[in-house]
């Protein structure tokens, strides 16, 4: 009989070979048995003030597949580990704010739990990664200071390559990208990044900062790229647009807390037609909202390898 450990594999794969249902023995990892498929959906719940709402139970949620309500066959409200690429804009416009950006990213890294893994990277005309995924926060913080500056902003290339770095990672996969401007030099566009993120089941968190800098002739005001919000919305991540550098550290902290306050839901799709299906997570309580990825591919080819 085939079985899957939950949640790591479930979150890693869009549609999994899985069991008539979940078997959960106290003190053990829950497992799915073979015979059907489960679509995993990671959800963030916020209240009317935008505050995170942890600790909810399954009956607070509803999942819609192409608008049709689904029975929730898997539910997890415990903290789940994640693997993250923290990708930072080190282009010229950020020169004056680099210390604050590094301090803010450090706040995120410090809040990573022992099972979380990450690497850091930067983009400008170059795209640079710290190397390998690690649980060592000191290594990650040190690497922040070892990243290089440049001039153009290859935002989409960097985001795309960050997703690619997560290709062989199991479990919840996250790209946290920070920028203060528009993409100016990428070969890839927002559509390429979105397709790749959806295909690889990566959540994109984006932090955009409006800023001012002197370009050698005059003061220039930058605005974060408009495509970031869509990337975050479609992949179930989050988008935060800031006007002051003072907001950087609280926002990086917020993302860390959000990643530790999420829910994993699962349902068995009625059909596997190979098409993209619209997904929606609704809350029963009117003052709460759930954010989750907005689609999945109902394809049997996306079954994960099983033992």
């Amino acid at each position: 009989m085939r079985s899957f450990v939950i949640p790591a594999l479930v979150v890693a794969c869009g549609v999994l070979g899985a069991g008539p249902l979940l078997s959960d023995v106290a003190g053990q990892e829950p497992v799915f048995r073979s015979g059907t498929r489960i679509v995993p959906v990671v959800a963030t719940v916020i209240d009317a003030q935008g505050r995170l709402v942890p600790g909810l139970e399954q009956d607070e949620f509803a999942i819609l597949d192409n608008g049709k309500p689904q029975e929730i066959t898997f539910f997890q409200n415990e903290v789940q580990p994640f693997t993250v690429v923290v990708m930072l804009d080190y282009s010229a416009s950020m020169t004056a704010n680099l210390d604050r950006l590094q301090a803010a990213a450090e706040q995120f890294i410090l809040r990573m739990l022992p099972a979380d893994r990450g690497q850091v990277g930067s983009f400008s005309d170059k795209i640079q990664f710290s190397g390998t995924f690690t649980k060592d926060r000191d290594d990650l913080i040190f690497a922040l200071k070892d990243l290089q500056f440049g001039n153009p902003t290859r935002l989409y290339d960097a985001t795309y390559e960050s997703i690619a770095m997560l290709k062989d990672v199991e479990g919840r996969k996250v790209v946290l990208v920070f920028t203060d401007g528009d993409d100016t030099a990428s070969r890839r566009d927002m559509g390429d990044v979105l397709d790749r993120a959806k295909n690889d089941e990566v959540m994109i968190y984006a932090i955009g900062l409006e800023s001012e800098y002197f370009n050698g002739q005059r003061m220039v005001r930058t605005r974060p790229d408009r495509g970031l919000r869509r990337l975050a919305d479609e992949t179930g991540g989050g988008y935060f647009e800031l006007k002051k550098t003072d907001e950087l550290a609280p926002t990086f902290t917020r993302v860390a807390q959000e990643l530790h306050s999420q829910y994993t839901l699962g349902f068995s799709p009625a059909v596997l037609d190979g098409k993209e299906h619209k997904l929606a997570v609704r809350m029963k309580q009117p003052n709460m909202t759930a954010r989750a990825r907005r689609s999945y591919i109902a394809s049997p080819e996306r079954l994960s390898p099983t033992d």
Binding site: V53, G55, L110, L113, P114, H260, S261
Partner: protein, 106 residues
């Protein structure tokens, strides 16, 4: 507990833990630092390591990351402290610190 009350109590608890750990840090030679609301204990021996305690506002808890595990301490009204299985933050950190310092080098 409101968010504001949580912040106040979490700041107080982390500050209390810092003050409780300073004598041990001086005796046993490790660094303890409270900065931007995050308490860090940094060790060079028996092997390089770091413990981190930080408030998690949405859960109204203080989370400790140490010895490869996460510990989540919730507010206990009776003792007016953040506790895990009856153990308050300073005591938990001291116990974990001693367990680590007295362990063999990796």
């Amino acid at each position: 507990m409101t968010e504001q009350e949580f912040r106040l109590e979490a700041d107080r608890a982390l500050d209390e833990a810092l003050r409780a750990l300073v004598p041990l840090a001086e005796r046993r030679g490790f660094d303890v630092d409270l900065h931007n609301g995050v308490l860090q204990l940094a060790f060079d021996s028996p092997s390089p390591a770091k413990f981190v305690a930080s408030p998690h506002g949405p859960a109204r808890q203080i989370w400790v990351s140490a010895l490869g595990r996460a510990y989540r301490l919730a507010w206990h009204t009776g003792s007016s402290a953040f506790v895990l299985a009856g153990e308050a933050l300073p005591a938990l950190l001291e116990r974990l610190t001693l367990a680590f310092l007295d362990s063999r080098p990796r």
